[in-house]
Every structure is written in structure tokens, then in C-alpha cells.
């Protein structure tokens, strides 16, 4: 058999034509493949955004659960206000914060009339709350302990400078250990006041020429500043309040979902104990029936 004859025989095997539906199928599948293909970076960004979105909506208790190192015994909702010369008052910021060792830590802040700034602040505050343990750990690795101790020893009070309150300013009012030891009455006390049911002591400091700050701190709340007032001296020698803060609500927070009973293991109920319990209950009921007086 020659090559030509072999070719002729092979040519007898004809392949069918490709189905016309094949192109439509490939086109449809290609469309869905292209839609499905999402870059890993997009997934990472979406995940971070989702966490932040959940985080900014989370109440302080949830932040505590996420970040166990940041134990939150209570939260204080406050408003920061600004008083222009015309005598009016405008709220510049609402905040929720707590105090640990006389150090105020903000959980979130909101700017009235500025939702964009509020959202940004909440994201930043939530991230800061989560990262605080890491930050403290890395600080301990990089900064000498004496320096950290010295910085932590200072008590600083937040102040909302300017109409937009960005960023917060802080005024140092004294030593933390001395403040806590003295029951928040560090130096000259300018007065006492009960705010939202908590007794406070007011101390006053000069922060600039012709300006002073008065801070009302509650000993029961670890010297948390429930109220502060920045005043400016006028030409006639009197002081006029130009800005300040006041507490609106104080709430205790629960740091644990479940509280374990200390002697839980020892409290095994035996039959004898059950009998004793029943007897006790029966005895108590009998005693109560003896002592109970009929309703008038």
C-alpha cells in the first residue's frame, strides 16, 4: 500500500462538525467565570471592612469580649460643648469612655452633624481598642520601663479644643498614684458636687495665661472626670466658660458572659443532701406559716 492509498483510506473517517451551541456555552461559562473571579486582595479588603463595620456598631461589652485585656468596669457617656461669646452652647462631640487607673480610654466618639467624621472616628477607636494590648506589649519591648511608668503616672484630662474637636487635646493635672491616694482631691479642691449620683471633687489647674480648667472627678469611678470646664479670664477679672464636658449617663458593664461559681465542684448533690434540702425547705415553709401574719 502506498502513502497516497493510506491517506485516502484514513480520509474516510470524517469527524462531525463542532456543535453550534458550543460557542454559546463557552461564552456563558466565560461570563460566569469572569464574574466569579475576585482577586484575593479584594477579599482581604472586604473582610477588613466587614470586621470594621461590625466593630463600629458593637457596644463596649463586645469590644471587651474581643479584647480581653481591655477590661471595662463602666462606661460614661459624655458630651463636649463649646460656648461662644454670645452665650450660646453647641455640642461638639459625644463620647463613651471608661477609666482604668485614672486613665480615660475612649470607646467611641460621634460628631453631631458630621456622619463621615463620626464613622471615621468609630473605625479608628474600634481599631485602637482591639490593638491596645498589642500596642502595650510592643511599647514594653521598645521603651524603657521607667519611661513607661513615668508616662503612666501622669493623669491627663481630655479637652475638645476648637469647634470641630479634632484632635482631642489633653491637659496634665498631676500624678496618678497621688490622685488615687488622695481620693481625687489632689492639691487645692475648689468644690464638691454630686453628678449623676456620684460624689465628685473639683480641682483646678491653670493651662495657659488667663485660662484655667476645673475638673470634677469621682473617687468611686477611679477619678473619672465626670465634668470639666475651661474658663477664660475677662477684662474685668471674671472668668467665662468657653468649653467643657459633662457626663450624661453612667453604665456598669459586664465583662464576663458566664460567672463560674467558685465552689461549683464541691457542690455535688447527694441523696443525703437532697433529703436535707427537702427537709430544710419543708422546715422553712412550716416556720414561715407560723410567723406569717394574715393580710389586713
Amino acid at each position: 500500500m502506498t502513502d497516497t492509498e493510506l491517506d485516502e483510506i484514513l480520509d474516510k473517517w470524517a469527524a462531525p462538525a463542532a456543535p453550534s451551541s458550543l460557542r454559546a456555552t463557552v461564552r456563558a461559562e466565560a461570563g460566569s467565570c469572569t464574574r466569579r473571579r475576585v482577586r484575593p486582595g479584594v477579599w482581604a479588603l472586604a473582610s477588613v471592612a466587614a470586621v470594621l463595620l461590625v466593630g463600629v456598631q458593637a457596644p463596649p461589652q463586645k469590644v471587651t469580649l474581643l479584647s480581653p485585656a481591655a477590661r471595662i468596669p463602666f462606661t460614661v457617656d459624655s458630651e463636649f460643648f463649646y460656648s461662644p461669646e454670645d452665650g450660646s452652647t453647641a455640642v461638639t462631640m459625644y463620647s463613651s469612655s471608661y477609666s482604668r487607673d485614672a486613665r480615660e480610654i475612649f470607646l467611641y466618639k460621634s460628631m453631631p452633624g458630621d456622619p463621615w467624621a463620626t464613622a471615621m472616628l468609630r473605625v479608628l477607636d474600634f481599631g485602637a481598642a482591639l490593638l491596645r494590648p498589642i500596642q502595650e506589649y510592643s511599647l514594653a519591648l521598645t521603651v524603657p520601663p521607667q519611661e513607661i511608668q513615668r508616662a503612666r503616672e501622669l493623669v491627663r484630662v481630655a479637652d475638645c479644643v476648637g469647634a470641630n474637636c479634632k484632635p482631642l487635646s489633653y491637659w496634665t493635672i498631676g500624678s496618678r498614684s497621688e490622685l488615687l491616694r488622695s481620693g481625687c482631691e489632689l492639691g487645692a479642691v475648689s468644690g464638691h458636687e454630686t453628678i449623676l449620683g456620684y460624689p465628685t471633687a473639683a480641682i483646678r489647674r491653670s493651662i495657659a495665661p488667663k485660662r484655667r480648667i476645673t475638673v470634677w472627678m469621682a473617687p468611686a469611678l477611679g477619678c473619672f472626670p465626670l465634668k470639666s470646664l475651661v474658663e477664660e479670664q475677662q477684662a474685668d477679672g471674671t472668668f467665662r466658660a468657653i468649653r467643657g464636658r459633662r457626663a450624661l449617663k453612667i453604665a456598669a458593664t459586664r465583662n464576663r458572659l458566664f460567672v463560674k461559681v467558685c465552689d461549683y465542684a464541691a457542690r455535688r448533690v447527694t441523696n443525703a443532701a437532697r433529703g436535707s434540702f427537702s427537709w430544710n425547705m419543708g422546715q422553712r415553709a412550716a416556720d414561715e406559716s407560723k410567723t406569717r401574719q394574715p393580710y389586713p
Partner: protein, 147 residues
């Protein structure tokens, strides 16, 4: 790869690819699936295709070959393939031709895979030995010896 570029490639190459897949698998439906998977492979995020290194035709034939071999290893050519692929319902006057075609198909399908793929590419797709060697992944001399 964008969808428009993919469809352009499809229009240029799908017919010979389908024929090749059909002649390797012996099944039109398998060939259809193989060609479809071959083009969708180009959209896969980890697709290693580099147009500067390999011509698209060589790459696509290589993918079809691999997919066909994979499919054949799962479902060896048997009764189904013979019934589906080599039965040509034809008019009476073409009966003899069809019978001969069936016989050739059966004969080619009985060849070892290594020889069949080279034969199909060389005879039916009229490819040069160098290109066949590139698709199959062997030396040119080895491709020639398999013919």
C-alpha cells in the same frame, strides 16, 4: 484574559480542536466538553499560558490532548464510544462509505495513544512534526518515529 479575546481565539481554533478531541476520545459529547474546558482553562486565575512563549494553537492543542487523555483514563474507549462515535446514520447510497469510515475509525482507535495522537495531528490536522512535538511534548525525531 478578557471574554472578547477568548471568543476570538475560540472562533479561530475551535473546529480543529473539536476534531482532534473527537478523534482522541471517540465521542462527540466528550469532545465538546474537552473543548469547552480547554477554553475556560484560559480564564483560570492560575493559568500558566504565556503567549510570548507558546503560540496559542500549540497551547490549545496541548490542553485538549491532556484533557482528552485524562478523560480517556477515567472512561476507556469501549462500547459507548464505539456505539456513539463510529455509527454514521447515512443514506443507503453512502452505506459503503460509512462502513469504511467506521472501519478506519475503529482501526485508528485501536492504535496506542502515543501513536494515535501523532497520527491524528499529522494526517488529519496537517501539522508539521515540530509543532506535533511541541504539543505532545516529545522530540521531533520521536514524533517522526511514531508515524
Amino acid at each position: 484574559m478578557e471574554q472578547a479575546a477568548l471568543l476570538q481565539l475560540f472562533d479561530e481554533h475551535h473546529k480543529p480542536l473539536f476534531r482532534f478531541a473527537y478523534r482522541l476520545t471517540g465521542s462527540a459529547s466528550d469532545a465538546e466538553d474537552v473543548v469547552q474546558e480547554c477554553f475556560l482553562e484560559l480564564l483560570r486565575p492560575g493559568c500558566s499560558y504565556d503567549p510570548k512563549r507558546t503560540p496559542p494553537r500549540t497551547y490549545l492543542f496541548g490542553v485538549v490532548r491532556n484533557q482528552s487523555l485524562k478523560r480517556m483514563s477515567r472512561n476507556p474507549v469501549g462500547a459507548k464510544a464505539e456505539a456513539e462515535a463510529f455509527h454514521f446514520p447515512s443514506p443507503e447510497n453512502e452505506f459503503l462509505k460509512a462502513e469504511l469510515g467506521d472501519a478506519v475509525a475503529r482501526a485508528v482507535m485501536r492504535l496506542p495513544e502515543t501513536q494515535r495522537e501523532v497520527l491524528v495531528l499529522a494526517h488529519y490536522e496537517q501539522m508539521a512534526l515540530a509543532e506535533i512535538a511541541g504539543i505532545v511534548g516529545i522530540e521531533v525525531t520521536a514524533a517522526k518515529s511514531r508515524l
